[in-house]
């Protein structure tokens, strides 16, 4: 069943059709929520709440568009809201959950180094870097996903890259 058909069935009250959408996108959504929140439990909560929000908002979904970019805006909203409440209530922000998978020539040490660096960065910087480099989004797609103008995408991406360089170069070397 494709997304459009599933959404049409959901609008008609078919809960099982929504299950298809959740199962199709839950892993991708978890990857994105982890990049913003850096904490598995929070990411699961945010993704589940976002799917509930999306279900409620399906009546307003434009079938000409793809589901996931639309859903991403809802997920991001949820993540930011959760991050705000987490800042107010407790400080155990990031756990040791992995955000990256090694491919090709990367060593385990390189994975650890980049993971550690990403966790030290601002959530906003981490998010834009990962969307650009891991998901391969263009500036236009980034602007749509993040709800900001392309000029802001460019400056945010530049800031994120300089931030990553600063974190990587100040990282203490192991003896």
């Amino acid at each position: 069943m494709d997304d459009a058909a599933a959404i049409r069935l959901c609008r008609g009250g078919d809960g099982d059709a929504y299950r298809h959408l959740v199962e199709r996108y839950q892993r991708e959504a978890m990857g994105h929520a982890l990049a913003i929140l850096g904490n598995r439990q929070d990411a699961e909560d945010a993704v589940q709440d976002a799917f509930v929000d999306a279900y409620r908002a399906l009546a307003r979904f434009d079938e000409e568009r793809r589901f996931y970019p639309w859903f991403y805006a809802i997920l991001r909203n949820r993540c930011l809201k959760l991050m705000g409440s987490r800042r107010r209530h407790d400080s155990d922000a990031l756990d040791d959950v992995g955000m990256l998978t090694r491919e090709g020539a990367a060593s385990v040490e390189e994975v650890v180094a980049l993971e550690e660096a990403l966790k030290k960065m601002l959530s906003e910087s981490r998010e834009v870097l990962m969307l650009r480099h891991l998901d391969g989004l263009s500036y236009k797609e980034l602007a749509e996903r993040l709800g900001i103008p392309i000029g802001t995408v460019m400056s945010r991406l530049f800031r994120a890259r300089t931030e990553l360089r600063a974190v990587l170069t100040t990282r203490p070397k192991k003896p």
Binding site: E23, M30, R56, L100, E110, V111, L114, L134, G147, R161
Partner: protein, 136 residues
């Protein structure tokens, strides 16, 4: 063109993004500014790191949680509706009550209650603004 602008635009060109970027101006600036050239070389080296990684997509099964949350939101609405109906019935059962001080306290309580509901947002109404921004 300032160094800051040149660096951001040069990064855009390196990413293959040309809209809104004046290639000639950027190249002219870089030809004259060694600090910008060095900055861009180090950033390009950092960028190459990403080629060895993909995003981790954890194995999860969240449907049970989503289903539970969907049901619990319905329960919240039904509870709120139940409270309204019971309150209405109570008022109906006692039409001859001397209200006195209540006429002053009830509006005050309603305002405080409305404020608490807006603050706690029990029905999780939060996506509208984001959706409308995205639709623009």
């Amino acid at each position: 063109m300032t160094c800051g602008e040149a660096r951001v635009m040069a990064m855009g060109l390196a990413d293959g993004e040309t809209s809104g970027v004046s290639r000639e101006e950027v190249e002219r600036h870089l030809a004259e500014c060694s600090a910008c050239r060095e900055e861009l070389v180090t950033l390009a080296a950092i960028d190459r790191i990403w080629g060895s990684f993909t995003r981790r997509r954890p194995d999860v099964d969240l449907w049970a949680g989503v289903e539970r949350r969907l049901a619990s939101r319905w329960r919240r609405w039904l509870t709120a509706l139940g409270i309204v109906l019971v309150s209405f019935r109570c008022i109906e059962l006692f039409p001859d009550w001397e209200l006195g001080l209540w006429t002053e306290l009830v509006p005050l309580a309603a305002v405080v209650g409305a404020f608490i509901i807006l603050r706690l947002n029990p029905f999780q109404i939060s996506t509208d603004l984001q959706l409308s921004q995205e639709e623009q």
